[in-house]
């Protein structure tokens, strides 16, 4: 048999479990409450009877049966009288307010008895009220019974018991109702998640959980699920985009390579042209395609990975000095002044190889586009925001404002740079490296026009500093 859905939900089963636990805990509590209230009332009544019995026994010791009789008569006239019965050792009545003893056997030991007395209420109708008493054998062999009307305390106890049962019932009802409510609420929250998961499974990557704005665990989980789906969608989009781009970007140089080889073949067949020369050019072309391919692949991998692998802590100043050392002669040979200004010991956690490559690309670009007589400056510092900045400033022609966003895109080379070698992937690789480390690439104007020199360009690779530093 299948239970209704509500009863199969985990929250409802949990509620039942809690209810059982709660009842288990409430039972001794209620039991104790009973013992401490109703039980106490009964014990106090018994104690009153025992005390009365004690004082009558004292009167008996002083004045014998007659003395006791006298005392009983006095006591019977009192405010809230006890019930008395004094009997001879054989059980026949001597005196007292009761006719017969509720205790039938005449033992030597004290015996308690619960009984009832009939009274007349204000209307004259007979009313039976509960009573309780103690019978004791006196030293002379006579039997004394002392009883009391416990009607009031009995009804008090009864009302306490009723209240305790009521409490128990309330525990069950509230617990169950709460369970049902919680369970329905939870199922509704879960339903949203379940729906989205099954939508995604059937191929709809756009499905998202609607947040309720309650900021509870479910909303948190739903937000997490949505973020995960966003990331997944981005990665897949990135891959698709990278695939398209690779196809496009490689087709062009491959077409060129093919055309060149075809022309060479025609030339060779016609007996003109040097096949050796044609093959050499074709090899150079192929190498060019490979370099482009490697660069595109590196960018695509970085973009789809989302986060650079193999990150470790290192001193960005040391890395900058290392890369500078590699490029400085190149700049100098081109008649450029190269300067590095490095703050040592900054905390950076990143993939060393990628950062080295990014910084190398920045310096390489600057050297490439700055005319002889200019200057290139590498700077590593910590921004006031705590971020670590590698910046390369040159005195080249710069990049106009409107083109700055574009040059970061893959394969964009501005008109005046077409004569320089390179595939135009430098900055986009740097940008991909920045993003894979949670950083960014910033382009701004350089030091400004000075004499022959252009306005220059300042490219900054900005990375978050290592956590905990």
């Amino acid at each position: 048999m299948r239970l209704p859905r509500l009863f199969r939900t985990t929250p409802f089963q949990l509620t039942l479990l809690f209810l059982a636990l709660f009842a288990g805990a409430a039972a001794p509590f209620l039991g104790y409450s009973y013992f401490a209230t109703a039980g106490e009332v009964a014990r106090r009544a018994d104690a009153d009877i025992s005390r009365e019995m004690g004082s009558l026994q004292a009167a008996y010791r002083l004045g014998g049966v007659n003395g006791l009789n006298q005392t009983l008569i006095e006591r019977a006239a009192g405010e809230r009288p006890f019930l008395y019965l004094l009997m001879k050792p054989d059980g026949t009545r001597i005196s007292g307010s009761l006719e017969t003893s509720p205790v039938e056997e005449r033992t030597d030991n004290d015996s308690w008895a619960s009984f009832s007395v009939t009274e007349t209420d204000p209307d004259g109708a007979p009313v039976k009220r509960p009573a309780r008493g103690l019978q004791r054998k006196l030293s002379g062999g006579e039997l004394l019974f002392v009883g009391a009307d416990v009607g009031e305390s009995e009804s008090f106890v009864a009302s306490i018991v009723r209240a305790l049962w009521g409490a128990a019932a309330l525990v069950l009802v509230v617990g169950l109702a709460g369970g049902v409510l919680v369970s329905r609420n939870v199922s509704r929250s879960m339903q949203g998640l379940v729906d989205v998961v099954s939508a995604v499974r059937s191929g709809d990557l756009h499905a998202r959980v609607k947040l309720r704005g309650t900021k509870d665990e479910y909303d948190e989980f739903a937000a997490g699920l949505n973020d995960m789906l966003d990331q997944l969608q981005r990665s897949m989009g990135g891959l698709r985009h990278a695939g398209d781009a690779i196809a496009h970007d490689l087709r062009t140089p491959l077409a060129r390579l093919r055309a060149r080889m075809e022309v060479a073949l025609i030339d060779v067949e016609a007996g003109k042209g040097d096949p050796r020369r044609a093959l050499e050019t074709a090899l150079d072309d192929a190498d060019g395609v490979l370099r482009t391919f490697n660069a595109v692949l590196a960018i695509a991998r970085l973009q789809s990975a989302g986060r650079a692998p193999d990150q470790q802590e290192f001193d960005p100043g040391e890395l900058a000095a290392d890369v500078s050392e590699l490029y400085e002669p190149l700049c100098e040979d081109k008649g450029l002044e190269f300067k590095a200004e490095v703050t040592p010991g900054l905390p950076l956690r990143a993939n060393r190889e990628f950062i080295a490559q990014a910084v190398a690309n920045l310096i390489d670009n600057a050297c490439k586009y700055t005319p002889s007589g200019g200057a290139v400056m590498l700077r590593v510092r910590r921004r006031s925001s705590g971020e670590i900045e590698f910046s390369v400033t040159d005195t080249g022609p710069g990049v106009p404002d409107e083109d700055r966003a574009r040059v970061v895109q893959r394969f964009v080379r501005l008109e005046n740079s077409r004569s320089e070698p390179g595939a135009g992937l430098g900055l986009s690789l740097v940008s991909a490296v920045a993003e894979a480390h949670g950083g960014r690439l910033e382009l701004s104007e350089g030091p400004g026009k000075v004499g022959e020199m252009g306005p220059g360009l300042r490219v900054a690779l900005v990375l978050p500093s290592a956590p905990g530093a």
């Binding site: 991998r301 692998p309 490559q357 050297c367 430098g426």
Partner: protein, 223 residues
């Protein structure tokens, strides 16, 4: 010099063995990992060239097994996987060098030569001598014909590498990897600038140039 080529792509293997033979190496070809392992166990080789991805037994497994059996023959991994992690896996498995496909013959031969040579230099030398050029590794000084040559630290490392591989072609990529320890494409030939600076220091003013440019390959230091 005997080279074992373990490569499942027959055409690539044929081209490779052809190139190696042209360069004066004796080659044996094994067409998959299992055959390669058997061949490596049987014969004495100076260098193993191992493709990483092969049927039956991949290159990494072959090299791990060879190393476990106590064979220290230098290994050059060939792979279509060019990521840094792949390189690290290959080197951890016991490879000595790593070349990403496709590669230029000059690159392959230069690396195979470097690996086969490495085996011969057993003892730790304190001085290197190539022709009339002498390098003292203890006080880090260089003399040619008794004349002291002043080098920057990186120029010293560059010359040391060239001297250890004297008479062999070394490629720009090899220099970038072994001297600067970078594995990326520097776009511009930065290495050329460093080599030409070194050349002007060790060859200028001497009757015979030692540092040669090898067309299509790289550089060579001749005695």
């Amino acid at each position: 010099m005997r080279i074992l080529v373990i490569e499942d792509d027959l055409e690539a293997a044929a081209a490779m063995t052809r190139g190696l033979q042209e360069a004066g190496f004796e080659t044996v070809h094994a067409a998959d990992g299992a055959l390669g392992l058997a061949a490596a166990r049987d014969g004495e080789f100076d260098v193993l060239i191992v493709d990483r991805m092969m049927p039956k037994m991949n290159g990494v497994e072959v090299v791990e097994t060879v190393r476990r059996e106590g064979d220290n023959t230098p290994v050059l991994f060939l792979s279509a996987l060019g990521e840094i992690e792949d390189r690290v896996t290959g080197l951890k498995a016991g490879g000595d060098d790593y070349l990403v496909k496709p590669y230029a013959f000059a690159e392959l031969i230069a690396r195979v030569e470097a690996l086969s040579r490495r085996r011969e230099t057993g003892a730790v030398a304190t001085t290197l001598k190539v022709g009339d050029l002498e390098m003292n590794l203890i006080n880090r000084s260089v003399h040619r014909q008794g004349k002291e040559i002043d080098l920057q630290p990186r120029e010293f490392q560059l010359l040391e590498f060239m001297m250890r591989h004297a008479g062999q072609s070394v490629t720009r990529t090899m220099l970038l990897e072994k001297v600067w320890e970078y594995h990326f494409d520097p776009q511009t030939n930065v290495i050329d600038v460093h080599v030409s600076r070194l050349r002007s220091k060790i060859d200028k003013g001497f009757d015979r140039p030692m540092l040669q440019t090898v067309r299509g390959a790289g550089y060579r230091l001749d005695p």
